[in-house]
């Protein structure tokens, strides 16, 4: 691969930013003005950035590391990457000659890079050791798992009791009770070490305020919660795969022990959902050869960006291992064989009818599934009163967009991109409708993120 080939686009660089403020700050530094002695080579970029102080900041970014990009900057910022690293990468992405490809990094950059490479080599065996250490005492691990299972069973039993009480008294009464009732029950489920039950319970609290038709939605969610309880309480009678699905829905720890699949994985979408305590990043990948669509999850503590970043439109040569459970798309990223590079293909698409059929099919393996990842080919965004839908260009079928998708600015990017003509759209298709995440216009393979 030539140096030219691995240069990222500015969007891809900006998607590394931990927050909006960094994006802006980094964007401003992405000009030749404050930089000096900048250079790049072998997937690393370095430069000196003039700040407010007398000494310029020394900034290095290492994109070649298969474990993900790494940054080093002498500025005091605690953000990773800091605005200087972003600005430097933007400058490099702009490719206007201000970051020439030079063979030798300056000494200060070379030191850090060499240190990283050395650590990466020694890390490999250590990681193996530690995984051995974790399983060193299988007896203790089994006892721990048993104790936890007991607590979850107690929690599930208690939740069943509460659901029974609720249905006995009627949902109408619960609608008036507000969040308090659910928050308290959710807290009990946290104590029972069943985070899956806790988060589902907490979400029940919002349904009575969600507008017309709430009783039906509340009953649906109560019923699925009940189904999950029952699944756990009778897990020994379930097929192994379904039992694993129940465990994963309950939020019990699992390891990605599926056989590693090596492929060219195209990054379809990356988006964060933020709640006060945790930022969850979802990254959808499409395997060029395997044809599968897999999900990577990465977490960040409150206000910090999750560590894993894969800009949309890049493809990486890597191994993925699936987590256990039937119908679970979640995988873990294993070994990466090359740094991500811009991809020139798009995933194969399907029709809207096929998309909902796929969702129905997937429910057989996982009845709690909210949506499945689908690429729709040749669809047109169409206004439908206050709603929007994606209509097949060649058939009279359409998928409504979810409420969340309607209120995002990405909707208008999608509409503008289409201009009434068919586009390819990747998104999540479920019982609430379709959430578009990425689009490809008619004639180019350039992916436009919508989220």
């Amino acid at each position: 691969m030539t140096e030219q080939g691995v240069r990222w686009s500015a969007e891809q660089v900006l998607s590394l930013a931990p927050d909006a403020a960094s994006r802006t700050a980094g964007g401003k530094l992405g000009t030749a003005g404050p930089w000096s002695e900048a250079g790049s080579g072998e997937g690393t970029v370095w430069g000196l950035c003039k700040g407010s102080g007398s000494r310029p900041y020394q900034t290095v970014a290492d994109l070649a590391d298969p474990a993900g990009p790494a940054y080093k900057c002498s500025c005091p910022s605690r953000k990773f990457p800091c605005k200087h690293a972003l600005g430097l990468l933007l400058l490099w992405a702009g490719d206007d000659g201000s970051v020439p490809a030079s063979a030798e990094p300056p000494e200060w950059a070379e030191q850090w890079l060499a240190g990283r490479r050395k650590r990466a080599e020694t890390d490999q065996p250590r990681a193996e050791e530690s995984s051995q250490a974790a399983t060193a005492d299988p007896e203790a691990a089994r006892r721990r798992a048993e104790r936890r299972a007991e607590r979850v069973t107690a929690g599930a039993t208690e939740l069943e009791q509460r659901l029974a009480d609720l249905l006995r008294g009627g949902l109408a009464a619960a609608g008036q009770a507000g969040y308090g009732l659910w928050d308290e029950t959710a807290a009990r489920m946290v104590d029972a070490q069943a985070p899956g039950l806790a988060s589902r319970t907490r979400e029940l609290g919002a349904i009575p305020a969600s507008g017309a038709g709430w009783p039906a939605r509340l009953l649906e969610e109560c019923a699925l919660l009940h189904l999950l309880d029952q699944g756990w309480l009778r897990r020994d009678r379930l097929p192994d795969a379904l039992a694993a699905t129940v465990r994963s829905r309950l939020g019990l720890p699992a390891t990605a022990d599926g056989a590693p699949v090596r492929d060219h994985w195209l990054v379809l979408a990356q988006y964060d959902s933020v709640d006060p305590k945790l930022t969850t990043r979802r990254i959808w990948l499409h395997g060029a050869a395997s044809g599968g669509t897999r999900l990577l999850l990465s977490y960040g503590a409150a206000g910090r960006a999750p560590e894993l970043t894969l800009p949309v439109g890049l493809a990486l040569d890597a191994e993925l291992s699936a987590y256990p459970g039937a119908g679970q798309p979640r995988s873990a990223l294993g070994e990466r064989f090359a740094p991500p590079a811009p991809a020139t293909f798009r995933p194969p698409g399907t029709t809207t009818a096929e998309a909902v059929a796929r969702y129905g099919e997937a429910l057989r393996a996982d009845p709690w599934l909210e949506s499945v990842p689908v690429t729709l080919d040749r669809v047109v965004p169409v206004p439908d009163g206050d709603l929007w839908q994606l209509a097949d260009a060649d058939a009279d079928c359409a998928l409504p967009l979810t409420r969340a998708a309607r209120s995002r600015p990405g909707l208008w990017r999608l509409v503008a991109l289409s201009g009434g003509a068919p586009v390819t759209v990747f998104g999540e298709c479920g019982h609430r409708g379709f959430t578009p995440l990425t689009a490809w216009p008619q004639h180019t393979d350039e992916a436009i993120p919508l989220c």
Binding site: G27, T31, G170, R413, A416
Partner: protein
């Protein structure tokens, strides 16, 4: 897709099993015991069993919905696509809009939002099409800043109008577009033009008139004249105002008739338009009236001007647009004089005042303190008649000591006078002004200079900034000029700024820390200039001109 919340149309008649379940759940199994106990489980749990099954069954059986009526496809944009680097630059400029600008101190990084107008102007001049995915941000930016609208909408192109019809937030784009977003008829189609003129909404008619006036001024005037008497007074005013563009002697008969209009404001506008035509009959009448008031003083040895303001405002003057009642605090005779001189053709004065040139006339002393009144009226006339010689004369020498003070000619009037000069002369005059009087009064004058600033002007501004720094004041006293310089200085001047970046030793009498702030401000100036140079380069047409077809069409 029939979502779970929307009831099936088929089940409207009889309650479905699912609706029955919901009703029971809502009331509670205690109140509505039902047949869910069959499995031997408690009624509420049996209900949940049923509901779980029904939920999964319903979700698994979802079908796509019928497609709604599809929108008309957006019209093709024939312009070539933006180069990749320029498209990314646009995204960065637009992304800066939402963030930043709230914080007080700007530091040394450029203010990207302020560069957007320039970027748009260059992109429009090069004739590029906007990338579709940037249209929403572009429309939002234009929505927030009316000054951006014309350029942003021109760049956004036909697809943006298509998009604006789908989103109420962007209605402004349709209003701003000619014909309220509806397409104007082919201007060559006389019948369609007449029909729209007769039946169209007011905005459509204004747009039609403007479009016609741009190409064939005479047709626009004839169209207006055909229905003139039947129009409402406020509409007549607006229509008359659109004749300002492309005004020529051919419009005179029509305007002369409008002097007898029922509406006072219509009459005033007609008079104003006529006085901008030095060859018009009205201008000639005004010249006669004005000449009666201004004469050479032959009683003294040195030549001078003597003023005899009009004694009354007769009906003829009123018909020609002279306002009889002065604003509070002004004498009526001087008020009338001002209006007469302002409407008289400037070309008539040399003949009246002994064959002198404009320069010589302005230099003549004026008796009895009338100079201010007379010169101010000449200034207004020079602006209205776009007379370069008189503008030059009235502006005087930029380095004259009184030019910096509150002389007869205010800064606002000077700025208007400068507009009548060609851009090089204008820049030269402002450069001379800054060299003598510094920057504190220069902001308004700099605003009328062509961008990028001509070399002498740029040099004068940089030198003056340098002097201000050495004088020890803080840079934000000059933030207006600094901001202008960032936007208007020629990027080629960057070299001259190199020396200003160092933090100088602070003299004892300087404001504390000012040196550092100045270095930062110059740093920002230089970064912005570099960025502008880079922006222009990114937008440069590819070698061999823009491709005749978008590249993907060839693939």
């Amino acid at each position: 897709m029939n979502g779970t919340s929307s009831a099936d149309a088929a089940t409207a008649a009889a309650p479905s099993p699912w609706e029955d379940l919901v009703t029971t759940a809502l009331l509670g199994t205690d109140r509505r015991p039902a047949a869910y106990g069959g499995s031997g489980r408690e009624a509420p749990l049996a209900l949940l069993d049923e509901a779980a099954m029904a939920t999964v069954r319903r979700r698994a059986g979802l079908r796509p919905a019928r497609a709604a009526r599809r929108p008309e496809p957006a019209p093709e944009d024939p312009r070539p696509a933006l180069p990749g680097a320029a498209a990314r630059r646009l995204a960065t400029l637009l992304a800066d809009r939402s963030a930043g600008s709230g914080s007080g101190r700007r530091g040394s990084s450029p203010d990207l939002m302020e560069l957007l107008p320039q970027w748009l102007a260059t992109a429009n001049a090069r004739g590029y099409a906007a990338p579709p995915q940037a249209l929403p941000a572009l429309l939002d930016a234009a929505r927030g800043r009316t000054d951006l609208r014309p350029a942003a909408l021109a760049f956004a192109g036909p697809r943006a109008l298509w998009l604006a019809r789908l989103n109420a937030d962007w209605r402004f784009a349709l209003r701003a577009a000619p014909g309220g977003g509806a397409r104007l008829p082919d201007l060559g189609d006389t019948e369609a033009v007449r029909r729209l003129w007769r039946e169209g909404l007011f905005a459509e008619r204004v747009a039609l008139l403007g479009a016609l006036r741009a190409g064939t001024p005479a047709r626009a005037r004839e169209l207006l004249a055909s229905t003139w008497a039947a129009e409402r007074a406020e509409d007549r005013l607006m229509f008359l105002d659109s004749l300002r563009a492309g005004l020529s002697a051919a419009d005179e008969p029509f305007l002369e008739r409008a002097l007898d209009d029922r509406g006072r404001t219509v009459r005033a506008t007609a008079a104003e338009l006529l006085s901008a035509l030095p060859a018009s009959a009205l201008a000639a009448r005004m010249a006669v009236r004005a000449a009666a008031c201004v004469a050479l003083d032959r009683t003294r040895s040195a030549p001078g001007i003597v003023i005899e303001p009009p004694l009354e405002c007769d009906s003829g003057m009123e018909r020609d647009g002279v306002v009889a009642i002065p604003p509070a605090g002004r004498g009526e005779r001087s008020w009338w004089l001002g209006q007469l001189v302002e409407s008289a053709p400037l070309g008539s004065w040399p003949g009246r005042l002994g064959g002198r040139t404009a320069q010589e006339i302005v230099a003549l002393p004026v008796s009895d303190g009338w100079q201010g009144e007379l010169h101010a009226a000449w200034c207004r006339a020079a602006v209205r008649q776009r007379d370069a010689a008189w503008s030059r004369a009235l502006l005087g020498s930029p380095s004259a000591p009184e030019a910096g003070g509150p002389g007869a000619v205010s800064l606002a009037e000077r700025a208007k006078l400068l507009a009548a000069l060609d851009s090089a002369e204008r820049a030269g005059w402002v450069a001379g002004f800054i060299a003598t009087h510094g920057l504190s009064e220069a902001f308004q004058l700099l605003g009328v200079c062509a961008v990028p600033w001509a070399a002498p002007l740029g040099r004068a501004v940089v030198d003056a900034l340098n002097i201000a720094r050495d004088a020890g004041s803080y840079p934000w006293s000059f933030s207006g000029v600094m901001g202008l310089a960032e936007r208007c200085l020629d990027p080629a001047e960057t070299v001259r700024l190199e020396g200003l970046l160092a933090i100088p030793d602070e003299p004892d009498d300087a404001a504390p820390g000012a040196g550092g702030y100045w270095a930062e401000a110059f740093q920002r100036l230089m970064t912005t200039l570099r960025l502008r140079a880079q922006m222009a380069e990114e937008l440069a047409p590819p070698h061999g001109g823009p491709p005749a077809q978008p590249p993907e069409a060839a693939a």
